[in-house]
């Protein structure tokens, strides 16, 4: 038994008995090195854990958390969770939470790399040095992060669940910026630090920034596009959060509401949540201890399933699909965190661009927010490597552009995908670190709407 699992069991024992309880321990050790203008700027090393206790009373879940592990603190946390559930029960009548899930077979996944778990700053320093060297040789400045993490999650419940897993992750991002302001981006996400290739990343980012021509300004309008995997993943993440979210679906707020079984994308689109896909960050259970299994979301362009936790599933007569992000159900609903978009037949992005007479090549999208979630209408801007496609060739740099378009619409207009999907993420770690990403290829769509 790991220390985290032992602590989770002690936390569960600290919860006053009632209709059920669930205790989770999330222990994080991580290091993140930031750099800008080819010099180190910030370095953050975290060693922390969170004990969460959820208590069920009359269909209501109350919760409390602490990062202290002594018996008194655990008891206080348990009492706070019970008091929260009891206050809810007294104030709101019988709640709609059906109860913590029973134990189901959880298959252990190998998402742990011992070398990464050392959280050694030395390879990070070397990676930064590589980025500085590559950028400097081309007269560019390098910006970005290098980070590694080791997070253990242990979960026990009064319904009999007892599970733990440790997941490591590594991420490096390089943005090279030329004196003209032209920038280029490359990033890599992996389960092991040894898989990161700082040299290749820096060279790829530098290649996009080291363009001597002044960027063109294109007028707003509809253009054919080639989206690199990082741009595709941004659209897919939004789809996961808003459209394939079981709670949004149950409350008729989802773009998929009423459309399961209908065509929502081009026939070549196959999207699933696949936590055991070899290139994904491996996950074996969700925040309620339900095993994570592959979940088809779009098959051959047809909307197939949505992601549920116990609560959202109960609202529509379904069971949890293993997508809880909080015990008892998060207010944000159930979210697929291991999306995989199946690749197509194109060898590379050059082949994707081949049929495009005049279009836009996008490296990544930025500040993407929903305008009207039920239509999956999004807006955001291109960033760090936007180019004109002319007569099948990626040619001149162009100024960044704002798009306002439906994510499902882009997938419906998708004509071709590259053959090898890659793991992408933004390396964003708000709150307790939870590494996740999207495995996807680059794609070509016949049109995307640019509004500024």
């Amino acid at each position: 038994m790991t220390e985290a699992l032992d602590l989770a069991e002690r936390a569960l024992e600290a919860a006053p008995p009632g209709d059920g309880a669930l205790a989770t321990v999330t222990a994080e050790r991580s290091l993140l090195l930031r750099y800008a203008r080819s010099r180190p700027t910030q370095a953050t090393a975290i060693d922390d854990l969170t004990v969460d206790i959820a208590v069920l009373r009359d269909g209501h879940v109350g919760g409390a958390s602490t990062n202290e592990t002594d018996p008194e603190s655990l008891a206080a946390c348990g009492r706070a969770a019970a008091a929260a559930a009891e206050a809810a029960a007294r104030s709101g009548g019988t709640g709609d939470y059906p109860g913590f899930p029973p134990p189901l077979k959880i298959t252990a996944r190998d998402g742990y790399d011992a070398a990464t778990a050392l959280i050694d700053p030395v390879p990070g320093g070397a990676a930064l040095g590589t980025a500085f060297d590559v950028a400097g040789r081309l007269g560019l400045e390098a910006h970005g992060i290098w980070t590694v993490g080791d997070v253990e999650t242990a979960l026990v419940s009064s319904s009999g669940v007892s599970a733990s897993e440790s997941v490591t992750d590594a991420f490096m991002k390089v943005i090279c910026i030329a004196p003209s302001g032209r920038s280029g981006y490359a990033a890599q996400t992996a389960g092991a630090v040894s898989e990161l290739d700082p040299q290749e990343l820096a060279e790829r980012a530098a290649g996009k920034a080291a363009v001597s021509r002044e960027p063109l300004r294109l007028e707003p309008g509809e253009y054919p596009v080639v989206l690199e995997p990082h741009a595709v993943s941004e659209l897919l993440s939004m789809l996961g959060n808003y459209a394939f979210n079981g709670l949004a679906y149950a409350e008729d707020r989802s773009a998929i509401s009423g459309k399961l079984g209908q065509r929502v994308a081009a026939a070549g689109i196959n999207l699933a949540d696949s936590p055991h896909f070899p290139r994904q960050i491996q996950r074996s259970f969700d925040a309620e201890g339900v095993p994570k299994e592959p979940l088809p979301l779009i098959q051959d362009g047809v909307a197939h399933r949505v992601a549920h936790d116990t609560r959202s599933g109960a609202k529509v007569g379904a069971v949890s699909t293993g997508h809880a992000i909080a015990p008892g159900g998060s207010p944000y609903g159930a979210v697929p965190t291991n999306l995989v978009l199946t690749g197509g037949g194109a060898r590379d992005v050059a082949e994707l661009a081949g049929p495009v007479e005049r279009g836009i090549y996008v490296t990544r999208l930025w500040y993407v927010n929903p305008v009207r979630p039920k239509e999956m209408l999004l807006t955001g801007v291109t960033r760090d490597g936007t180019f004109l496609i002319e007569n099948g060739e990626v040619t001149l740099p162009i100024e960044d552009m704002r798009f306002t378009d439906s994510a499902l619409g882009v997938l419906d207009r998708t004509e071709a995908l590259t053959s090898t999907p890659v793991l992408t993420s933004d390396g964003e770690f708000y709150g307790r670190r939870y590494a996740h990403g999207v495995v996807c290829p680059a794609l070509r769509a016949s049109a995307m709407r640019f509004t500024g």
Binding site: K173, R253, W366, R402
Partner: protein, 480 residues
């Protein structure tokens, strides 16, 4: 912490050029209803040390949980290790801008401790408000929310600073979502994105009078389902105070963060169209535009005694009569561009994130256009937009596109038809140049933003913006 932190800084002094440590104990509580039922009742608590060291110009930061001396010493050792592991840059290390060593205490003035009020009392207010939004079958989703936060912070540095602070924040709000076959419309009160939070006690939440506002919120959500769409045209817009606050946040506050201006946030948040040499000369907006970053405003979420590197709270002019006059800065960045003093804007989320440059209370100063009614009466033709719904801006803070929950036509000085799906877009300096009227102090208030994301690892910061309704000419609307 008197028996831990000064000794730790004595140990750090011999191994670094500069060091500081914060011990932070954070507490939070959230209570919410959804569709008439209790949805969430939850409490959080955490504490620990965040140690920051500077060695040869490289920063190292390490965090460790707890309140024991050994944890603080462990964090110091790791902070030094990561600082020393980074590539050495020898082309000039800037000294930190001088600051008198912080000393003393600061506490939020609180009439009623929000953590002392029973959960049942909070739930009673929320369920009453939630129920008051329900009834019309087109209302698909209702929610009411309460949140409270408390940070107890102790700061100590190798320069002899030692200060203690207690920051208490509290607030709430409600929202109703109406649906039809083709539309989904939301109305919120008192502001978008769940709630309005102030640095204050429970009295602030109780004063929101959620149940009284709830029926209007639901009625407007339903009315939006069949309202005509916002037209696509170039016209005059009047923004309500909350949308002005968001406009200030996105197109002024972030743009004048000196770390962005100096290119240090290019990795994530982005850079800025503003350069350091623009100080005193950049025409940011019209003469009606006056912006101040003020960490001393009562009830502001960016109000404190000292920032998280020990700089005493003060006000910094950012824009005066349309001209750029200041930046949001730290001791390091202020020194880098030759400012005499930091703007006092270094803030870290909890104990486990290192301080970075953040907004405090970045306020658009009130003008002389009277009340909102006066401003509408002074407008012949245009659109009044209220309550943010969607926001996006590019990584240099230039080209933006915002949508609001609701809008009304303005015809001959009066509000006319309700309009659905309103949006507008612009380019920052041109947009602010089109500002020709700001309401006066009677219409000015602070608006809180709880989800300001920045930094790697990510930090969500609470900031406020004082704003009053304001008018902008020749704006492109109906863009989405």
């Amino acid at each position: 912490m008197r028996d831990v932190l000064p000794d730790l800084m004595d140990a750090a002094a011999g191994r670094s050029d500069y060091a500081d440590v914060r011990h932070v104990r954070s507490s939070a509580e959230t209570v919410s209803t959804r569709n008439g039922r209790v949805e969430l009742v939850r409490q959080w608590q955490e504490e620990g040390f965040g140690v920051r060291v500077r060695i040869g110009g490289a920063w190292g930061f390490a965090a460790a949980r707890g309140n024991e001396k050994a944890a603080a010493e462990d964090a110091l050792a790791r902070a030094i290790a990561v600082a020393e592991a980074q590539p050495r840059i020898d082309d000039g290390v800037v000294a930190l801008a001088p600051e008198e060593a912080a000393s003393g205490t600061y506490s939020t003035p609180v009439e009623i401790d929000p953590f002392s009020v029973s959960l049942e009392d909070k739930l009673a207010l929320l369920t009453e408000a939630d129920a008051a939004m329900r009834g019309d079958p087109r209302i698909a989703l209702t929610g009411a929310h309460f949140d409270a936060y408390r940070d107890d912070k102790v700061f100590c540095s190798t320069e002899g600073a030692y200060c203690e602070q207690r920051i208490v924040e509290c607030g709430g709000g409600l929202a109703a979502t109406a649906t039809s076959d083709s539309e989904t419309q939301v109305r919120s009160y008192p502001g978008a994105h769940r709630e309005q939070v102030s640095q204050a006690g429970y009295e602030h939440f109780a004063g929101l009078r959620l149940a009284e506002e709830a029926p209007r919120v639901a009625e407007e959500a339903v009315a939006l389902l069949t309202a005509p769409p916002c037209p696509a045209e170039v016209t005059t817009i009047v923004l309500n105070g909350e949308q002005v606050a968001l406009q200030v946040h996105e197109s002024v506050g972030h743009a004048v963060e000196l770390d962005r201006v100096l290119g240090r946030e290019a990795s994530y948040a982005g850079t800025s169209f503003v350069s350091a040499s623009d100080l005193g000369s950049l025409q940011y907006g019209s003469p009606a535009m006056n912006v101040t970053a003020d960490a001393t405003v009562a009830e502001g979420l960016g109000t404190f005694g000292w920032d998280d590197e020990g700089v005493a709270a003060h006000a910094v002019p950012i824009v005066r009569e349309g001209v750029l006059r200041g930046f949001l800065s730290s001791r390091e960045t202020a020194a880098e561009i030759g400012l005499e003093r930091s703007g006092g804007c270094m803030r870290g989320e909890g104990f486990s994130r290192q301080p970075i440059i953040r907004m405090t209370n970045v306020n658009l100063e009130p003008g002389d256009a009277g009340s909102l009614e006066d401003l509408i009466a002074d407008t012949d033709h245009g659109i009044y937009m209220a309550t943010n719904r969607s926001w996006s801006i590019d990584s240099r803070r230039l080209q933006f596109q915002f949508a609001t929950e609701a809008a009304w036509e303005i015809r001959d000085g009066r509000l006319g038809r309700l309009l659905r799906n309103p949006s507008y877009a612009g380019v920052t300096p041109q947009f602010w140049a089109s500002l020709d009227a700001v309401c006066d102090r009677s219409a000015w208030r602070l608006w809180g933003v709880l989800n300001c994301g920045k930094g790697e690892p990510g930090q969500s910061m609470h900031v406020s913006h004082g704003a009053a309704p304001a008018r902008f000419r020749n704006v492109q609307v109906g863009v989405a």
